[in-house]
Each structure stands twice: as C-alpha cells, then as structure tokens.
Assembly symmetry: C2
Amino acid sequence: MESLQDYMTSVGQRAVSAARALASAETGQKNQALLNIADAIIAGTDRLIKENAIDLAAGRENNLDAALLDRLELTPARIEAMAEGLRQVAGLPDPVGEIENLSYQPSGIQVGKMRVPLGVIGIIYESRPNVTADAAALCLKSGNACILRGGSEAVYSNQAVAECIKQGLSQTGLPDTCVQVIETTDRDAVGYLIQMQDYVDVIVPRGGKGLIERISRDARIAVIKHLDGNCHVYIDDKADYDKAIAIAINAKTQRYGVCNTMETLLIAEPVAAQLLPELASRYLQKGVELRGCPAACSLIPECLLATEADWETEYLAPILAIRVVADIDEAMQHIHEYSSAHTESIVTEDYSKARRFLREVDSSSVMVNTSTRFADGFEYGLGAEIGISTDKLHARGPVGLEGLTTQKFIVLGDGHIRS
Amino acid sequence: MESLQDYMTSVGQRAVSAARALASAETGQKNQALLNIADAIIAGTDRLIKENAIDLAAGRENNLDAALLDRLELTPARIEAMAEGLRQVAGLPDPVGEIENLSYQPSGIQVGKMRVPLGVIGIIYESRPNVTADAAALCLKSGNACILRGGSEAVYSNQAVAECIKQGLSQTGLPDTCVQVIETTDRDAVGYLIQMQDYVDVIVPRGGKGLIERISRDARIAVIKHLDGNCHVYIDDKADYDKAIAIAINAKTQRYGVCNTMETLLIAEPVAAQLLPELASRYLQKGVELRGCPAACSLIPECLLATEADWETEYLAPILAIRVVADIDEAMQHIHEYSSAHTESIVTEDYSKARRFLREVDSSSVMVNTSTRFADGFEYGLGAEIGISTDKLHARGPVGLEGLTTQKFIVLGDGHIRS
C-alpha cells in the first residue's frame, strides 16, 4: 500500500502539473468549468444529502455539539447556495493576465506588471462542506490548482462535493486534478501538506485560532492567515450623536460571533456622559454585558469593571469592553497596544481627525463613520473572499481573487541590449 | 552588562516606536532627512575613510581575498556615490498614503486601498558599507524603521555611516532610531533579529546563497529573498538573427557575476545550424566556455558536453550552457524544469509565440526581444532596489519602495451601518 508520504507527494506533483495547465486556461473555459460544477452539484443533490447523512450520523455518535452539527448539515437550500456561489465567481472579472502600468523606460524597453496565479494553494478547513466548493471556485478562477483538506467530521460530504467538481472540470476539458480533496482522514496529512515547499506555494488555514496557530508555527510555506478580530470603534468628541449610536450598536450587535464585530468601544471623555447612558441602555436591552474602565463604570451602573484581559479579548459574544479616553491620541494609543490590526473605525465629523485616523491606524481596514461589520469581501466589492488576512505582507484584509494571485514583471523590447 | 538578548529586544522596541513616528511623517520631512544624511556623509568623508581603514587593515590581516577587500573599500568617489544615492531616493515619489481605487459600493460606503509602510524591516548584509546608506534610504522613504546588520568585516565603516545617518535624522526632527545599525559583531545577534516577531515585520537578507538559505530556514518572520538567478534566453525559429545575436551576447557577456546574466541559451533546432557557429565564435573570442547538449556540440567543435548539473547551475562566470530544443514548448518545458524563476527572455518576431511566452513562463521577469540584463530596479524605473525577489508572494522581481510597503483597506461612510 502507498504510504501517506507517497500519497501526499503524488497529490503535490499532480497539483503542480494541473497548475501549469490552469495558469494558461482561457477565462471562458474557467467560467464554463465553474458553471458545469454548479450544475453537477445541483444534479448531485440527492447523493450529497445521502453522503452528508453519514457524516451527520457519525457526528451525533461522536457527540459533536449542536452548532457544529448545524454547520455540517447540507440541505437542498444550502446546496443551491453552494451552486449559486460558483455561478457568482464565474461572473467575476478574471484577474489573471491583467497588465498594469506598461510604460516606456529611458532605455526604450517597455516594463509593466502582469497578474499571474500563485500556483498551488493548500487550504485547510473545518466542518462546513460548502467551503470545499467556495475555495475550489476562488482558486480555479484565479488560475491556481488547489489541495483541499477538510475536517474529518465532513469527509463523506467533502468527497461527494469533490466528485461534482471533478465532473465539472472534466466536462470542460480541464485536468480534474486542478482541485484535489485529500482522501485520507489521517491527521499527519496536514503535516505533510504544510511542508511540501516543492509543490505548494501558499497555505490558507480556515478555522479556529488553535488550528491557525499550529499551522503557522509548523508550516515551511507562506501562510495567508487570520488570527484575531479584536476590532474597535472610537467615538470622537466631534462625532454626530445619531451616527455614533447607530454605528456603535450595529458594530456590536448585528452579529456576535464574527471577526469584524466591535469588541471594545472607545469614547472621548467630553461626550461620554451624554452618550454612554443611552448606548448602555440599548446594549443592555439586547442582552450585551458591559465591562468598562472606572470612568465608564461611573456613568453606567450595570457596567462591570474591566480587567487588562478585557482589552485583549475577542469575545465573539454579547460582551463589550468600554473605555473612556481623553482624545484621539489616547484612542489610537489604545488601538496600537491592544488591537489585532483587523478593523477599526472612528466616528467624527472632524476632517483633520478623520484624516489622521485613516493614515495613522495600522490595521487591515480603517474606517470613518462606518460600522466595522462592513469589513468583508462581498461588502468591499471583491465578490467573494477566501478569508481575511491580519498579516501585513502580500494580502491584508479581505482576500479575494486578487489575493490569490501575484504579479510578475513583463518587459517588451525590440532587440534592446544593455550598455 | 546588558545581555545580547536584552540589547536586541531594546533595539526592537525602539524600532517599533520609531516606526510609528515615521509612518506618519510627511514626505517633505523624509526627503529633507535623506538630503541631510547625504550632506552628513559628504562632510564626514575623512572620518569615513579613517574608520574604513581600520576595517581594511583587519581584513588584510585576516587574509580577506582581493575582491572582498575591494568591495569593502570606501574612496571619496564611492562616498560621493553613496550621497548621490540618497539624493536620488529623496527625488522618488513617496508611495506612502497613496490611495487606489476608492469607489462606492452598493451599500453606499466608499472602499479603497491605502499604501502604508510595513513597519520594521531587518536587513542582513555583507561587506559593502554603501548598503548601509542605500538600505536606510529606501526604508526611510517608504516610512519603515529599519534594523541593519552588516558584516563584521565592515563594522567600523558601518558604524561611521550610521553616525552620519543619525545626524541627518536628528537635524530633521525624526527619531534617530528610525535607522539602527547593530553595534555588536556577535553572530548570535542575527539569530535574535530573525526571531523577533513582535518587533520586526520583514527580513531582507542580502548576500551569498548560504546566508540567505540559513536565514530563510531559521526566520520566524517573513523573508523577502533572492536565491538563484539561473536565467534563460530562448532564440525561437522566428527570431530576427541580428537581434538574437545581439541579445544572446549581451545577456551573457555584459557582466558575468550578476544575477540577471543568462546562464543557459536555448535555441530552436531549425535555426541552430545557422546561428550557433557565429554565436560560438563570438563567445569564444570573449573567453566564454561553452557546454552544450549533443546537438549543440555537433555544431560547435569547442563545446564541451553539458551534464545535468549544467542546466541547474548559476555560473556567475564566463561559462554558458547551450541546448538545442525542438520548439517553444520544449524551451518552456526546460525553463519550467531548471529555471530559478528569476528572468527569461524569448527572441522571436512571432506574435503568438511572444504572447504565449509572456503568459506561460512563470518567472519574476519575462521578456520579449530584450537582454535579461535589464532585470534591475533602475532599468525598470523603480529608482532603486533593495533586492530582487524570487519568491512569489508579496514582492516578485526587483523590489523598490513599493515592495517595502503594503496596502490596507480604507472605508469612508457617513453613518452607514450593515443591515
């Protein structure tokens, strides 16, 4: 029998070979493949639900919690949404081959940059089978071969989705190895995947912080990763009160368990007494627990005293930390110290302070008079995202098709030589 | 006495703090600092030459080879060139703060990308003291604090340059810790530098392959690196003969010891008999040793039979490997197999083949009818380069000011909340 290492090596080699074919595939062919995969998924609905039922039964047997089981479940509506996601990616502009800034240099050569695929992308994710289709679609459209490694709890579902993908690729004349879903549930497969420098160009882990930290630590390949979303809204003393309240409530309460939710509210001292009581009553009505600095506590009777840990925590829950600050400088200092550099927003009508905040705050998204909940690939017009990067290099913030590509220089001459 | 670890930690902390000040420094102030440093370097000529003499004497005592001693030496002309380099960087456009594609989304928010510094850059380099000034200039202009670690053989020279830099920074009102040159020659300092994830955002190693491999292996921080330059020119059967000969001679012989020199010439079989004898006689006149495939050897009596190793080698010397290939497909297959993905050029008058080569060859620079020797930051109009990246992520090819920056998303609203 083939060893795990041999299996992973051949997966890697097949991916490299598929990547070459895919890199020069025409846009129309890639779009057709996406549409064919969407059709195969719809046609495969019964089979998908049958295979998914095996995962669900095993999940119940293994006492997976209700939230996980819910995420694992495929319904006809979710299968239709998966297909619709593929059709949407087919409709996005193709980033590959786009040429930027082609211009003549003093020597007479023309120099520009051409956008090209990264090559082979390894994606490691948990539970949701729809990620198999979403990730495959983004990689395919951006001209990258991909190796997908889903959670063992979704292995039957993922393999069933993989079958539909293979079918769509073959129908279009593209190698069905453009998308490979790892077949074994052996946990060591991840270890090999993140060390295969010769075959894999970038790793995208999607899942809990533990998974991402472990992969970042052990990978010998570049990782596009997203750790924390400890996001801040700063209400300036020159804020419009209605906008401030609308944004502060929306940023915290529109959804609790996502990375672009506000976790700490910073508010300028001159307006704290006027705004905090009203904000607090709205938060408390919605069941949000408040933890504040002494000044915040003195204005809100229900507020618990925050500890240092509160400023550092991504609650992902109906809990909010509140701190009264002297001014924008103290707000930016707090952000610099505690933020995970995901998303921060200032609420102000003051032009100079808006300008400073935009320039000086070093986070992947910096906003003025807007809810942090907008930090999202769809809202940003990227069409879809493979994740949100909190790294600085390569891709920062929501990562769409462009983040899965790179640029090479192209040089056009007519016999030019260097003197 | 302070331990090495404590020293490196405080260097890192000072850099982070300087980086914040520098990120929001105005363009005019950064330019003025560069000009002041240039003046300080010119004014410090005598002192620079005196300190450099200490390094040179130690180098002679330690039997450094002549080429190394030559690179180490500072002369009045080289000091003037260093100052001129700083003035040129002052004259380049400031990439920081540049906003791209700010556009309205369906929700009403405006989303764009702002170019921002990476933060703190660690640069590790060998022998040439001018790198101290060059690297400092590029980091400063791109708004990054930097930590420079030069070779121990140049420690007095580098510290003298560092003094001039400090002086120029202070005169301009910028923290003199924007540029820190590590004072100890303890080799373990590099080990700390490349592991300080909390303080350093990216490492740029400049030097021999051994140094770069070691740093890439051990770093816990992203590395912008350049390994090999195994560059190819492919002369197609539809090449213009005069252009082919001019380019093939220039790409190999204009300079031997640099990364963008051609190391393997690929030539299409239909034109090999006509072109190779003339090319060979020119190469031999210039003292270039030829190593070829059997077909090349049969056309060139002086050609040695190439081994597998020849296709893989970056000679950095007057040696050229030559391979006769059937067509563009075989040429691209050879490049795919052996190239270090630095720079490849096709010589052809055929539109379709030029178009295919540009799209399908996966190297940091891909050229048509041009000498590979053009792959260079100055020739590309970047103004100056910190190196040439053979990586795919973040920066690929010559890395100028833009490669030392990243982009964050900025979002402008007017009380917008997500529904």
